[in-house]
Amino acid sequence: MASITMKNIKKTYEDNTTVIENLNLEIHDKEFVILVGPSGCGKSTTLRMIAGLEDITEGELYIGDRLVNGVSPKDRDIAMVFQSYALYPHMSVYKNMAFGLKNRRVPKKEIDKKVKAAAEMLDIESYLHRKPRALSGGQRQRVALGRAMVREPAVFLLDEPLSNLDAKLRTEMRSRISLLHKELQTTFVYVTHDQTEAMTMGDRIVVMKDGVIMQQDTPQMLYNHPQNMFVAGFIGTPPINFIDCVIRRKNDGFHAVFDRFDYLLPKRMYGSLSLYTDKEVVMGIRPDDIHAERYFLGKNGENAIELYVEIAEMTGAEYYLYATAADKKIVAKIPAGESVKSGSYMRLAVDTDKIHIFDKVSEKLICD
């Protein structure tokens, strides 16, 4: 069990490309932290630096209180689960799991106990004598988890462990890993590009882009209060709608205006908006915060406007509506109970309480 502290970390490769400029991150003991971002954002590199598989060009990395910059992976008390499972193909499942303990000269009896306990926890007892090639993807991934578990490391590092699994298995493994974290009570650092995984599993999510941390917070805070347009756009399916609009000051307060839309913004925003009067900003509104007529009733009724629904996608519990407004695509998510047809008009209203206003140039949040 240990915390991880990264201070002013910089990573430059031999060909002089800098993937991480100045990374500062604190991961607490027993925390489940998710590093998420598009490919090439430096999340895997960060994880590999924690593991000791990549050198750190500048800065300091602590695991617990120990500076580990020059410490080799085997002496960092970490375990890692790889996307490709990385099982030893010539060893049985049992030997794969026992290998790390054997290298650390753990007595045979103890190895046996630990391997069997981990196998039981992961439902792989009946495969212990098989070779990895005789296992399915899900089983292999469980062996990889087991191999990490038996070592009882201070830190668990998981590098896109579910990316090679099919959708159903992924959902199952997701909850299994969450449970594992609860049972093991160890620090977990989990890298993924999948925002659903990030939202469902982590205590805290670190969103990265081009080697920079864009925001780090709980899943709920990230979703409800994104600090910039990147985070707002990255988290949530279908993605948030961004609409260019102008802030107007009228008698009753500040309005966000574009085309035939005119939304009175909540009072709490006025302080921040005064600087932006008559300026262009970007309004962000999540598809879940655009409602069909009977759900908004009195509250936002005045905002309802008739939109042309190009496509209505039925997902089971809800519809995804792809509508157009002033040549802009707007996505709305409404309950499946509505009768909606593709290619028809429908009255939809924006919940102005849930609007996020971003600066058009810096893409940073002005107010929400």
Binding site: G52, L53, K74, F82, S84, Y88, P89
Partner: protein
């Protein structure tokens, strides 16, 4: 219609391959057949099958084995082959692993040097090499092993690195996290995965080293004769007379061990060649 053309095609390939295997097998057939004929009947009628007059049973074999130095030559060849093949497999696999995994200009240059060494014909370097080796004291049974390592390294490094390139790096990284240093990671994890290629490399080198005549003749001469040298020297009598019967019998005996080795390993050789070639 389609079946008919493919049938004709098959027949064509079948006869071509049959002809090819006949061409390859014919010399072996000649050697084996003549090894049972009396030595006086071999030169005159080499293609005639042994009959009651010419058949001598195992006489040639017994004479050959009894002749001086054959057994010692066999042992020497065994030591040289096993030693060289072991050295080639171990050292070139390690070299290839390092070259593939540690990217640097120097390593790239070393890799191309290995490749280049495959292109240079032995005859081009043999005299200067012999002189250097004798100066270095490599003209002994054990001394020739590093020389074979040098000549075998090019192809072996090429084959190993082709395979290693296709190996996911994560397996080695997992081993490092599991407590291995580079040496342990290589022998406990990488080398076992390389097994098919290692066997291919071993068999290719074993065949060549076991049968080699020129290099041992140049370096070890007639004092420390290897099998191929011994057969040539021992069966040559006075005034240029040659005991062809003994010659043939010894040739048959000499190729048996390597054929057995090949048959044991052949299921790996095909897999190894494909692994290296396709994924490399």
């Amino acid at each position: 219609m389609k079946n008919k053309t493919s049938g004709v095609k098959n027949a064509f390939w079948f006869s071509l391959l049959l002809l090819l295997s006949f061409i390859f097998l014919f010399p072996i057939y000649l050697v084996v057949m003549n090894s049972f004929k009396s030595k006086f009947n071999i030169v005159g009628t080499p293609f005639r099958f042994p009959d009651s007059e010419t058949f001598v049973g195992l006489e040639n074999y017994i004479n050959g084995i009894k002749s001086a130095g054959i057994f010692e030559a066999f042992l020497r060849t065994l030591v040289i082959t096993v030693g060289s093949v072991a050295a080639i497999v171990i050292f070139t696999s390690m070299a290839a692993w390092y070259i593939v995994r540690v990217k640097s200009r120097f390593n790239k240059a070393v890799y191309y040097l290995f490749l280049f060494s495959m292109i240079v014909p032995f005859q081009m370097v043999m005299f200067t090499m012999t002189a250097v080796c004798i100066k270095l004291g490599l003209n002994s049974v054990l001394g020739i092993i590093p020389v074979y390592l040098g000549f075998g390294a090019g192809l072996s490094v090429f084959m190993f690195s082709g395979f290693i390139k296709s190996m996911p790096r994560e397996i080695e990284e997992a081993a490092m996290i599991d407590g291995c240093g580079p040496v342990k990671a290589f022998f406990a994890v990488v080398f076992p995965i390389l097994k098919p290629t290692a066997i291919t490399v071993a068999i290719l080198n074993a065949m060549w080293i076991w049968n080699d005549f020129l290099l041992p003749y140049l370096l070890l001469g007639t004092t420390d004769k290897t099998l191929s040298v011994a057969i040539q020297i021992t069966m040559q009598g006075a005034y240029g007379s040659i005991d062809w019967g003994g010659f043939m019998a010894m040739l048959v005996l000499a190729i048996i061990p390597i054929i057995i080795f090949y048959l044991i390993c052949q299921k790996y050789i095909i897999k190894g060649v494909i692994d290296g070639a396709v994924k490399g």
